[in-house]
């Protein structure tokens, strides 16, 4: 078995075995979908198809949240000591990072697909090809989000810190991504943040496919908040996908570097060195 496959398989098994979590996560994504779709409906006035527009946004945001949150699994591995077993093994650090990113992404995508099915029930109209494409976009974006989450987890090093940091970053980014509130309705002074927010572009490519918007002209896309004109330069949904992938690659490199630093697992060693004094000095 390839080391990446081993990590992915192990993480998926671990996930499935915590049944409460599976149930909770599924419940949350459905709850979010129903709540947001009905609550935010009024903010979507002026769009051709407000419900599908909103539903597609909620789906990709749930993928985002699940991916980032699942990255905290690695903190459990660190505190249980298991991470040390992985770090001293003769596995390339790229494989460790890839294994964790992939497993987080697979879980998030599966949940995303289930949310999408609920979305179809609630009025999202998509064909088979669209479903396949949407799942692919979910997987790619989930990998980016997992890489971001993994990096945040390795930086924060403990669960409470990770929760604080991730919600501090996730909440605002979610609200200025256009997923819940169309970017066209966001006040002008916030637009720079909208344009700097990677979620904006992930939302745009996802929505572009979900709404079958390829028939629209660039101008129409811009008017609907799926393409962005920044100082005359237009960022199309496909460019949005490229941006998402680039950000993912960037954070992947950061994660690999983080794992490559030999002293990474000192948290556990420090507590192990009971009389060492090093722990107290850190």
């Amino acid at each position: 078995m390839n080391p990446i496959t081993a990590i992915v398989q192990r993480n998926l098994l671990n996930y499935i075995r915590s049944k409460g979590r599976v149930f909770g996560a599924l419940f949350m994504s459905m709850f979010m979908l129903v709540m947001f779709s009905f609550l935010m409906k009024s903010s979507m006035s002026g769009l051709d198809a407000p419900m599908p527009y909103l539903i597609s946004g909620v789906i990709i945001m749930s993928v985002f949240q699940v991916s980032v949150n699942n990255s905290s699994d690695i903190l459990t591995d660190i505190s249980s000591g298991y991470m040390k077993e992985v770090l001293v093994a003769s596995i390339a650090r790229t494989q460790i990072s890839m294994g964790h990113i992939l497993s987080g992404a697979v879980i998030a995508t599966l949940q995303g697909v289930i949310t999408m099915i609920c979305g179809i029930v609630l009025g999202l109209r998509v064909g088979v090809l669209q479903i396949v494409l949407l799942a692919a976009v979910m997987l790619v974006s989930a990998m980016t989000f997992s890489a971001v989450g993994l990096f945040l987890a390795t930086v924060s090093r403990n669960s409470p810190a990770f929760q604080t940091i991730s919600s501090m970053i996730m909440m605002p980014l979610t609200f200025v991504s256009g997923a819940y509130i169309p970017t066209t309705m966001i006040p002008g002074f916030l637009l720079p943040i909208v344009y700097l927010n990677p979620l904006t572009y992930t939302t745009s490519i996802f929505r572009y496919i979900a709404l079958g918007a390829h028939t629209l002209t660039t101008q129409e896309l811009t008017a609907q908040g799926m393409a962005f004109s920044i100082g005359g330069f237009v960022i199309t949904p496909l460019m949005g996908l490229a941006i998402t992938i680039l950000i993912g690659a960037f954070f992947f490199v950061l994660c690999v570097r983080k794992f490559d630093r030999a002293d990474f697992s000192t948290i556990k060693i420090a507590t192990g060195m009971r009389g060492g004094g090093a722990a107290a000095r850190r």
């Binding site: 192990r10 991470m83 040390k84 770090l87 093994a89 596995i91 192990g272 009971r274 060492g276 090093a278």
Partner: protein, 304 residues
């Protein structure tokens, strides 16, 4: 014998705190090597550096000819580690823990099943292979961890206080597995411990204190060098033996008709004993322990 581990002038500092200061030693292939010392002596720091988990501050450390800082990947392939604290995957079964370990170490697919069976047999956990690790007792977890550490056939197996926190019975068993392992696989075993009796069966012992090596030798030599042999003799009449001891300037203690004295070696006592064979009713010869060695070198007991 070939040295498989070479450490030269290794130091590790955390800020202005020095955990290990300029230590050098070698470990022969196929030997059992013990690092002895109280908590905080720098044993774990050294083991973690050898295991590529910590970075050195200074010095050269090689395992099987590979530098532990520059050739981490190659070093990792050659070693197996049982850490002080559990690093098992609690949600997985014993077998799954070993299976993923094999994947991490790229054990050939057709050998995985056989190797897992062998390792689990060795530590007598075969019947528990489908049990979740989290549900096992402390001793079984330790054994599972040892099985996992050796399933990829490492050249060197590091055991960082493998028996700490175990009850005496389990401790004896774990120790038996370690010795069996070394014999069956001719593996080099590098362990840290603060149990003196464990270090006595090793081929080489390094005693560390405050980040420095204070002694390095075979357990026998250490005992000879730092402790003597205590001879307790019970006599019908103590006077003849007492005067013989006084003649030789051997200090002794007297308790009723029992005389107690120290000699460098047990054989040195033989001459006195045979000369006074007639008066001796009974005698006892006690050789020194590593505990006394440690006490003699550092001036304190190892168990704090």
């Amino acid at each position: 014998m070939n040295p498989i581990i070479q450490v030269e002038h290794f130091s590790k500092r955390y800020g202005d705190f020095t955990a290990v200061e300029d230590i050098s030693f070698t470990v022969d292939e196929g030997s059992i090597f013990a690092f002895l010392g109280p908590n905080g002596a720098g044993k774990s720091t050294t083991i973690n550096t050898l295991c590529t988990i910590l970075d050195k501050t200074e010095g050269t450390l090689t395992i099987n000819g590979h530098d532990v800082s520059r050739e981490r990947g190659l070093v990792r392939k050659d070693i197996g580690i049982v850490f002080q604290d559990s690093t098992l995957d609690a949600q997985m079964t014993v077998e799954e823990n070993l299976k993923y370990h094999c994947a991490f170490y790229k054990v050939p697919k057709n050998e995985v099943r056989e190797r897992i069976a062998f390792a689990l047999d060795l530590v007598e956990l075969a019947q528990w292979r489908r049990a979740a690790v989290g549900s096992l007792s402390g001793g079984m977890k330790r054994r599972a961890e040892i099985a996992r550490g050796l399933v990829h056939d490492p050249k060197v197996l590091f055991l960082d206080e493998p028996t700490t926190g175990l009850d005496p019975q389990t401790r004896a068993n774990v120790w038996e597995y370690i010795q069996r392992l070394q014999k069956q696989k001719n593996m080099t075993i590098f362990l840290t411990t603060h149990y003196m009796d464990e270090a006595e069966v090793c081929s080489q012992v390094v005693i560390m204190d405050h980040g420095k090596i204070v002694a390095h030798d075979t357990p026998e030599n250490l005992k000879h060098q730092y402790t003597g042999t205590e001879v307790d003799v019970t006599c019908a009449q103590t006077e003849p033996l007492e005067s013989a001891l006084q003649e030789r300037d051997v200090p002794y203690r007297k308790d009723k008709n029992k005389l107690m004295f120290h000699t460098k070696k047990a054989s040195a006592a033989l001459e006195i004993l045979s000369a006074h064979r007639g008066e001796i009713m009974d005698f006892e010869v006690k050789s020194g322990t590593l505990n006394e060695v440690f006490l003699a070198i550092t001036g304190k007991e190892i168990r704090e």
